[in-house]
Symmetry: C2
Subunit: 280 residues, 2 copies
């Protein structure tokens, strides 16, 4: 296979590393030529191209890995140079608006969302095996054959594929990805509201793994959090409705000192989490 | 030092292991004699006693490690057998009501809250080094000398000591420990409210480290969550007030499509978290 990767950050660079180690040819493209040069020097890619130059005519798949709000503009800029048979996919964390916009620009487009990553950024963070054992959503509105070709790419780097519509994907990630960001960010903001300086300082000293875990995704990339909310607003607001109602239900048991009701809610939460994470 | 440990679970057992490896003598006590026998066989303790039998007269410190709601009843049952000079401490995650109740039963009582642990339970989970590098709150209402003796015990197993009042402790842990449990439990409960079965199933498949981390403490021991809320109700309700206001502020930016305001809130959340966790 000959694969082009546009955007050589953690995801794009790690994908390139895995594909090359499987024997595929990989070309890269980045806004900054210095990133391409570093990727080439580190053996992450076989070659690189700049926007405006012809692309290899035997390119099978191009994977768009720029920031979420640059996926459509990047595709629009690439279209004049794409070989006719090339399949294009992306790695954006929102799918319905991206798949809709991208299909209007390029018929052979399939949306992807590989659920992999860590807190590191840039080509220096690229690592082999990042995708192994992780799930990947594939939105193949353009047809099953194109969808299978893209699914095969992700399967080769170790991912489990879930085909779905863009709308199903976006509602699902509103719950398990976008809602947690807002819930966790609110925890960070709330702790700053403690008025007693001694108590606040003590809290910072005593903060342990429970606080670290619950507050983690709310301390992530603010620009990405904003874009996820912008592109998935309705599903996120619906998830927030349910979340606020669930928290209020917990709160009322504490206000009313209905302790066995609180314990029942916490038991239910425990059982649900084991179910979600496949430990049930 | 001769130390008695009452309650041989993860915390009690791990403390016993560390103290013995430092050369101290450690006796144990547990509701179930089989737990004592296992602890003795595994070399966690030097000896064990059952409630009602005389305790070693040279016991310097007794550490109460039973479940949170059993600390005061356990102390009440032990008092007739405690040597007069023995200092008693506990490991409960709420301090003001426990210190108040315990001091009425035993003058030489100091409250402790070692911030260490994991999801494992029972004597089989006991491990060396559990406390190393972790913070420990010490409430020495009975005097600085007793407080220093208890602080020294925790320092010997590698903890950093923060002296505070019971009220300061309870307000601080409401923010960084009890609030996260409720916030995280509500996330688990909310995700169950998705009405579309396909979306719900997809969410479960795609759930990744972000969901796993944010939902973790909300999937913990329900009985402990209930007791923390019961014993720290006012501080937890105050923290919930602020949390609900913070989340509503985030929600309003999404409702009103005030995207730069949302990004500002998320930037603030990111900066606060780095500060809380000492990465700032």
């Amino acid at each position: 296979m000959h694969v082009g990767i546009v955007g050589l950050g953690l995801i794009g660079g790690s994908l390139a590393l895995d594909l090359r180690s499987l024997g595929h040819r990989v070309w890269g493209m980045s806004q900054r030529e210095s990133t391409c040069q570093e990727a080439l020097a580190r053996g992450v890619i076989d070659a690189y191209y700049c926007l405006g130059s012809p692309l290899p005519p035997d390119t099978d798949i191009v994977v768009l890995c720029p920031p979420l709000d640059c996926i459509i503009p990047t595709l629009a800029a690439l279209v004049p140079y794409l070989p006719a048979q090339t399949i294009v996919t992306d790695v954006g964390s929102v799918k319905a608006p991206i798949v809709q916009g991208a299909e209007a620009l390029w018929q052979r487009f399939v949306g992807s969302h590989p659920m992999a990553g860590n807190n590191n950024k840039g080509i220096g963070a690229a690592q082999g095996g990042l995708f192994r054992g992780r799930p990947c959503a594939v939105v193949a509105a353009a047809g099953a054959e194109l969808g299978e070709a893209v699914a095969d790419l992700w399967r080769q780097v170790g991912m489990t594929i879930y085909f779905c519509s863009g709308e199903e994907h976006d509602r699902a990630v509103a719950w398990i990805s976008h809602l947690p960001v807002m819930v966790s960010a609110a925890l960070n903001l709330a702790c700053d509201r403690e008025a007693n300086g001694a108590v606040k300082a003590l809290g910072e000293k005593l903060a342990s793994s429970g606080f670290a875990d619950t507050s983690r995704v709310g301390g992530g990339n603010p620009a990405l959090g904003r874009l996820m909310a912008q592109l998935n607003r309705e599903a996120l607001l619906l998830a927030l409705d349910h979340y606020q109602a669930s928290l209020q239900a917990i709160r009322e048991t504490i206000e009313n000192q209905s302790w066995s009701n609180l314990e029942n809610l916490l038991c239910h939460a425990q059982a649900l989490r084991q179910h979600y994470l496949g430990q049930g």
